[in-house]
Symmetry: C2
Subunit: 159 residues, 2 copies
Amino acid sequence: MLILGLDPGSTRVGYGLIKKEGGRLKFIKAGLLKITSTNKAERLVELEKSFSSLLRSVKPELASLEKLYFVKNWKTGLEVAQSRGILTLLITKNKIPLLEYTPLQIKQALTGYGLSDKKAVQKMVMKFLGIAKIQGGDDAADALAAAITAAYENLSLLK
Amino acid sequence: MLILGLDPGSTRVGYGLIKKEGGRLKFIKAGLLKITSTNKAERLVELEKSFSSLLRSVKPELASLEKLYFVKNWKTGLEVAQSRGILTLLITKNKIPLLEYTPLQIKQALTGYGLSDKKAVQKMVMKFLGIAKIQGGDDAADALAAAITAAYENLSLLK
């Protein structure tokens, strides 16, 4: 079962691909889709292109996305939500089951504590996957955390 | 110059099409795209289909969208923003110039006063377009108001 985790943003979308075999998780790859256009509407077109090509190349069987729960800045939140809409559209069009988790659920799943900091989550991501470094930085780490949460929380879907 | 105004929502997208000829505006049509799916991700797929077919049938030369500026409920706001992302994606992919206005700018353009109520705006929509009733209800009226704002505020783009 190939699981793709995503961390949506307006100019950076982190992704992390893991494989679940029995009870074990295997790291496949992680990275960042960088959106370079300065025009906000064009960014969505660029994202659609770049995410479509990611989906074609990795062919995930399950996708996991962090829920946008609270934003400090509504303008930024709006842009992230629009990007998220594009990701959701493409995932759903490709008939890939989509799971969504709040940041609290993800932290809880990885560290056992809903208010853990980024570092604790990243440490557990590396531990679960047996890797020493996360390529793609914070965004990819968050994406991998979402993928791991889906792997452990939704065993019934994974059969 | 055919101008399509839109009022994005997660289950209802109002649209209004007007034609600008010289200094005059002509009402072409207005209505509502109803999204019926109960699954939120599927709604985006349904919206993409239904909005693509609207674009193919009306072939607008300019699109106008109300900016999402403030939301009372972040959950609803998120869904509207995701729908808005799909509309923006399709408009931009189709190379249709897109203008965006705050509610204040639209009210200002239609009634001369940024804090006018819905009724005052609708009255002016009907007056500008010489129609006695707005098909498609409040959402279509808001869409027509966005289209009229674009027609009057961006003459340079309209040539």
